[in-house]
């Protein structure tokens, strides 16, 4: 296959909480469930730790989409902090829209430690959705993004 015929492979940054969704990822692994290799995970202690800056940083760094995942509402290891993540999620979606980024590039996924299968299938689904959206067209590339591209061009 030549380079140009290769279909678009999105890169996605995923945030997981330590107690449910990271363990769901572990479980998907232990059970050898297959999913698309496009998501790179970052472990936080809780989805409540998710600072919106992280999401914007991920987009600015060239990610095509961001996945936020945590315990199901009501199951938070820290009682109710995932509700904070939920609120921030809706806020971030709005901000992204205002910035001209498709809100479909941000996904929230509740996954308990037992839901490896759901975690895996949802990732594959999300990757397909993002693939359909195409590469992220960041209106004004941030500094961090532009640097390597510039260098590549001049190289």
């Amino acid at each position: 296959m030549t380079e140009e015929t290769k279909s678009f492979e999105p890169t996605i940054i995923g945030f997981t909480c330590n107690w449910c969704s990271y363990r769901a990822a572990d479980m998907a692994g232990t059970a050898r469930m297959k999913y698309a290799p496009n998501v790179r995970l970052i472990r936080l202690m809780c989805s409540g730790r998710l600072d919106p800056t992280f999401v914007f940083k991920a987009f600015a760094s060239g990610a095509d989409a961001v996945l936020i995942s945590g315990c199901h509402p009501g199951d938070c290891h820290y009682i109710s902090q995932n509700y904070k993540a939920l609120r921030r999620f809706h806020l971030m979606k709005r901000v992204l829209t205002q910035l001209g980024i498709e809100p479909g590039r941000l996904k929230l996924l509740w996954a308990s430690a037992a839901e490896g299968a759901i975690f895996a299938s949802e990732i594959t689904k999300f990757v397909e959705e993002v693939r359909a959206l195409g590469p992220l067209n960041w209106p004004q590339p941030g500094e961090q993004v532009s640097t390597p591209i510039m260098e590549e061009v001049t190289a």
Binding site: E3, F8, E9, T11, I13, W19, Y22, R23, A25, D26, A28, G29, T30, R32, M33, K34, Y35, P37, R40, L41, I42, R43, L44, M45, C46, G48, R49, L50, D51, P52, T53, F54, K57, A58, S61, G62, A63, C71, G74, D75, H77, Y78, I79, S80, Q81, K84, R88, S112, A113, A114, E115, A120, P135, Q144, T147, P148, I149, E151, E152, A155
Partner: protein, 671 residues
């Protein structure tokens, strides 16, 4: 970066677990070449990084290269983070300067495309390297462990756990919802496969619990609230009003003899027998004090009667008694809340509740119990007719996606036990309808052979329906069990006098609520989740909370006892250590940056943030902080930092994952 870190990268093969999919050699070489600017001075791959040789390799490098940071690309940190941190500690490197990157659970095991998995592993390592630069040396927090233990649930598993800990000399609070301990085992007549009498082996243990100086037994009680963390839980227990003063009651039994109100006993007798409104569930109950069932007691309904009070020789009846809230301090908790039997009514085609002579397994246990409502006579619902043909249906509510997908593990053996008891006591002809016979315990297969020898019929087929629809001669007045004998391919109509539904086990109705109360979680089918399915079956992801018995999944008596003892042993080990090291993942507030807006005060679920009115700044109490980081994310002034998960660490990790730290990268820029 002010100071250049020296980083070592270690890529594990995990045999072929990782190396079979990820090209580990390529990854390691790539890291050495491309992450040089980040400070990587050495990068190696090795067959088993977690082996002692692998660990020594890291330790040697730390010394030789003077490494200041270590990144290990191997399995999930939930498995081996501690291993590699300890290895670093052994080489005098602060353990928190070691970062584990999961390329097994997150790459080799979940991807089939080898190139993609290799590329992803590179990115994950790059992220780990970028992050580890900002890791800070941390010291664990040590907290003392309170030597008392809370055991929730007084079935055989909880009893075993309580006795083990109490015998070792430590205080146990044993909380049971019902008026007596004993659990389901107290309802059984015989236990498989040895057929020893259930009560004979259980009651001595119950008595021991009741009289043990180190056990505080709280029956007819429930957990109200749990606060704190490992080593230091505060538990509120609601001790429901028994209406009987335990200090004066002698358990003489006159009150329930004299009580005029009969109540169908749906709990202990499974609806097969009666009790009084004031009652002990069964004669050997521990404690011996009765309770008044206020919903059924004539006095509570009509305001008159008081027969029990009149006849009580010690004036122990106290109608005005109120619920009591008891607060206890414990260091650890064992949840042994057991199971509920599957409600056979849900499978309407089996006719339970509609067809009189369809019985559930629990009903049959009471029917066959010498101390039960029929004195151990196996008879039909009319109370007198001895059945001539009995059908026992396996897998009721189990191995069925319409109900519970899992195998309940005990029903085969329970059914064989029933078949034996029916054979022994009635001589009836017995049909067992099974999908597969599962007899994987000590002496279990032999018991199956014994049943075969007794002439019990075994029909391989899941019962389709039980009805009273007579069609053929000989079916009049019988129950018809319709089934395919899958070994012959024939459709059978087996007329029986009695059908016994061997109901499976289900999580307690309130298992989810209990799990939530104690900060742990349930699997999709509702059983509480253990920390590791093989290697850590009684611990949970929450330090200090242990599980034992059927609360973790269906199991038989020996396994429940073993888990009770195992959980006790784990806790005794912790108590002996006197203190426990906690992850130093905590939030802290930089006073000079705090604007005093108090947003963080409200987001903290543990009330760990105090506000100093005088200085108009907030402060985190590290003993209460659990490290979730929500306040860090919420602080508009950026004044709060979270150790172990600082903004710098995560932002840098994002750059690393996107390979922005590499000058020559091509992959992430779409053509």
């Amino acid at each position: 970066m002010e100071k250049k870190e020296k980083i070592g990268v270690y890529v594990c093969h995990c045999g072929t677990n990782i190396a079979g999919v990820v090209n580990v050699g390529e990854v390691s070489t790539w890291a050495a070449e491309n992450l040089k600017d980040q400070g990587v001075v050495v990068s190696r791959d090795y067959k088993f990084m977690c082996s002692s040789l692998g660990q020594e390799l890291i330790q040697k490098d730390i010394k030789e290269y003077g490494l200041t940071r270590v990144v290990v690309a191997a399995c999930s940190p939930h498995l081996h983070e501690a291993t590699f941190r300890n290895a670093c500690k052994g080489a005098d490197l602060n353990p928190y300067l070691c970062e584990l990157v999961s390329i097994r659970e997150q790459a080799s095991w979940v991807h089939t495309d080898k190139v993609a998995a290799t590329e992803k592993s590179k990115a994950l390592i790059s992220g780990g390297v970028s992050r580890v630069v900002y890791n800070e040396p941390l010291e664990p927090l040590y907290v003392p462990i309170h030597p008392a233990t809370l055991v929730v649930g007084g079935g055989i598993s909880g009893i075993q756990a309580a006795l083990e800990i109490a015998d070792a000399g430590y205080r146990v609070y044993l909380v049971e919802r019902e008026p007596s301990i004993g659990g389901h085992m107290a309802q059984f007549d015989k236990t498989f496969p040895t057929l020893d009498c259930s009560a004979c082996i259980l009651t001595p243990r119950m008595v021991q619990v009741g009289s043990h100086p180190n056990i505080t037994l709280l029956t007819y009680s429930e957990i109200e609230k749990v606060e704190g963390y490992v080593g230091n839980f505060t538990v509120s227990i609601r001790k429901r009003a028994r209406s009987v003063d335990e200090a004066t009651c002698t358990g003489c039994g006159i009150c329930w003899e004299k009580c005029p109100k009969k109540v169908v006993d749906n709990v202990f007798e499974a609806g097969m027998g009666n009790r009084k409104a004031i009652y002990v569930p069964f004669p050997q109950a521990v404690p011996k004090y009765p309770v008044i069932d206020r919903e059924n007691c004539t006095f509570y309904i009509k305001g008159t009667c008081k027969a029990c009070e009149k006849f009580c020789p010690t004036e122990a009846i106290n109608f005005a008694q109120e619920d009591e809230i008891i607060n206890v301090e414990v260091g650890n908790v064992i949840l042994a809340t057991g199971y509920d039997p599957f409600d056979a009514r849900r499978i309407t085609q089996y006719g339970y509740g509609r067809l009189a002579n369809v019985f559930t397994s629990l009903e049959f246990e009471r029917l066959s119990n010498a101390a039960g409502p029929t004195g151990g006579n196996i008879v039909l619902r009319d109370g007198k007719t001895v059945p001539k043909v009995v059908g026992i249906v396996h897998c009721v509510g189990s191995r069925d996606k319409n109900y519970n997908e899992y195998c309940s593990a005990i029903c085969c053996m329970q059914s064989l036990k029933f078949a034996h008891l029916v054979h022994e006591r009635t001589g009836a002809e017995i049909y067992n309808f099974y999908i597969d016979i599962r007899a994987p315990g000590k002496g279990y297969e032999e018991f199956y052979h014994r049943l075969l020898d007794e002439g019990t019929h075994f029909v391989r087929g899941k019962v389709a329906e039980i009805s009273d629809a007579v069609r053929l001669p000989g079916e009049e007045g019988k129950l018809i069990i319709q089934v395919e004998d899958t070994l012959t391919g024939n459709q059978l109509r087996v007329p029986v006098d009695m059908a016994i539904l061997s109901a499976g086990l289900e999580p307690r109705r309130d298992a989810k609520a209990v799990a939530k109360q104690f900060g742990i979680s349930c699997s999709a089918d509702g059983w509480l989740i253990e920390r590791h399915p093989k290697l850590d079956p009684v611990a949970t992801v929450t330090e200090g909370i242990y599980i034992a018995g059927c609360v973790q999944g269906p199991k038989d008596i020996p396994a429940s006892v073993a888990q009770g003892a195992a959980a006790a042993a784990r806790i005794l080990g912790k108590i002996m250590q006197k203190e426990i090291a906690l992850e130093p993942i905590r939030a802290s507030i930089k006073e000079e940056q705090c604007s005093g807006c108090r947003i963080c005060n409200n987001v903290c679920p543990f009330n760990a943030i105090l506000f100093h009115e005088d200085k108009m700044v907030s402060e985190v109490n590290p003993a209460l902080c659990q490290g979730c980081g929500t306040c860090v994310a919420a602080c508009p002034a950026g004044a709060i930092s979270g150790t172990g998960f600082s903004n710098q660490q995560i932002l840098s990790q994002i750059e690393g994952l996107m390979l922005l730290n590499i000058k020559s990268h091509k992959e992430t820029v779409p053509a």
